[in-house]
């Protein structure tokens, strides 16, 4: 019996992605771009919420752009482009999450210096995107009132690594008998101190609060103090 030799490795499995994401984050910070990664299950309303966000910035003459990931179709890119902002579709052809290199290859010809905000709409999935750093400074977890109050408890990994939770479709809360207190409680249970924004893309509820939050986060960006999503440093209480 040959005794095995042990090679110490001590490295992160996703080192390659993490290193690229760190590089990208530095580039974003240097250009003064706040990058926001939007994650939710399919059907939560990421695209409509983001379209309204983009429309707001475009209407105010603020440099904004978005990339959106889907397994197939460029439908979401076309919906987002209705806002007037530059949008790129990332088609993953079956892959369940975005990785840093996919984002980079889709934005490499964009001049970051013309942008203040860049949004990444991740694949609709509450599990797989969690482990992949995309170089964002804000990770937003979206949850709609139609999905059930216990989503944060079912998917603690995502909510725990996110900086802000956005409850969407609040105009439907009564019809869905959405238990608001329970949802808020569950969010705070998996991520104490997490900022929560209650929104409706249809009525405009929460949009101003969200825009103000983004402006605050952008004002805090300095190349000297890069932030990582989900780190205590970015938690707003």
């Amino acid at each position: 019996m040959i005794e095995p030799r042990i090679l110490e490795v001590r490295t992160k499995i996703l080192k390659k992605n993490d290193e690229l994401a760190r590089e990208m984050r530095t580039e974003f910070l240097e250009a003064g771009v706040l990058v926001v990664n939007l994650v939710s299950s399919p059907g939560t309303g990421k695209t409509t919420f983001l379209r309204e966000t983009l429309r707001h910035f475009v209407n105010h003459g603020i440099g904004v752009a978005a990339v959106v990931g889907d397994l197939e179709t460029d439908n979401d890119a076309r919906r987002l482009a209705e806002s007037g902002a530059p949008v790129r579709q990332i088609m993953t052809h079956g892959m369940c999450h975005l990785e840093a290199d996919m984002v980079r290859s889709h934005i490499e010809d964009w001049d970051l210096n013309t942008l203040e905000y860049l949004f990444i709409e991740n694949i609709g999935n509450l599990v797989c995107p969690t482990s992949w750093d995309l170089g964002e400074s804000v990770r937003a977890a979206l949850l709609s009132v139609t999905e059930g109050e216990d989503k944060p408890l079912k998917y603690p990994g995502l909510f725990n690594t996110s900086d802000v939770a956005i409850i969407t479709k609040c105009d439907l809360a009564d019809v869905c008998e959405f238990n608001r207190a329970e949802a808020l409680n569950n969010i705070q249970s998996v991520r104490p101190g997490m900022k929560v924004i209650e929104s409706s893309a249809k009525t405009g509820l929460g949009l101003t609060e969200w825009i103000n939050y983004l402006k605050t986060m952008r004002a805090q960006l300095t190349p000297a103090t890069p932030v990582t999503p989900g780190s205590p440093a970015t938690a707003l209480t």
Binding site: I2, E3, P4, R5, I6, L7, E8, V9, R10, T11, K12, I13, L14, K15, K16, N17, M95, C96, H97, E99, V127, C128, T130, S131, W132, L153, P156, G157, L158, N160, T161, Q188, S189, V190, R191, P192, G193, M194, P232, A235
Partner: protein, 132 residues
């Protein structure tokens, strides 16, 4: 099924380390996986077997050490193990804490290799085939 991507990353790191160590065969890869990493152990093992087939890593075993979540409780001023993944409160004084010190690991600790020998007996070779 992001475990397939994770397995691919894992394999390229393991191969790189193995290649730097001469003519060796990888017997086992030791991982540390945190409770918050969103990785399913069985899905990772399944993906690993898939992506290592017909590579020098074929037949290598994955050994996974589960890493529990540890938070820092500001009130107790100490580190506390959490029994689950849903309630981020100090289990002693119930103070909420988002200050996570452990539990997000997705790490390769080490790789166990054996030297390839040109005089390897057929018995040992067949052991390689059954080491799954």
């Amino acid at each position: 099924m992001h475990e397939l991507s994770i397995a691919n990353n894992l394999v390229s790191i393991a191969l790189e380390h193995a290649e730097q160590s001469g003519d060796v065969r990888v017997k086992q890869i030791n991982l540390r996986i945190g409770a918050l990493s969103c990785v399913h152990r069985d899905a990772l093992m399944f993906s690993f077997d898939l992506v290592t087939a017909d590579t020098p890593l074929a037949g290598a075993k994955l050994h996974i050490t589960d890493v529990p979540i540890v938070i820092y409780c500001p009130k107790c001023a100490s580190l506390r193990d959490l029994p689950g993944v849903q309630i981020f409160r100090c289990p002693v004084c119930q103070t909420p804490s988002a200050d996570i010190r452990q539990g997000r690991e997705l790490d390769i600790e080490s790789i166990e290799v054996v030297e390839q020998s040109p005089f390897m007996s057929p018995l040992v070779t067949s052991e390689k085939g059954t080491s799954l």
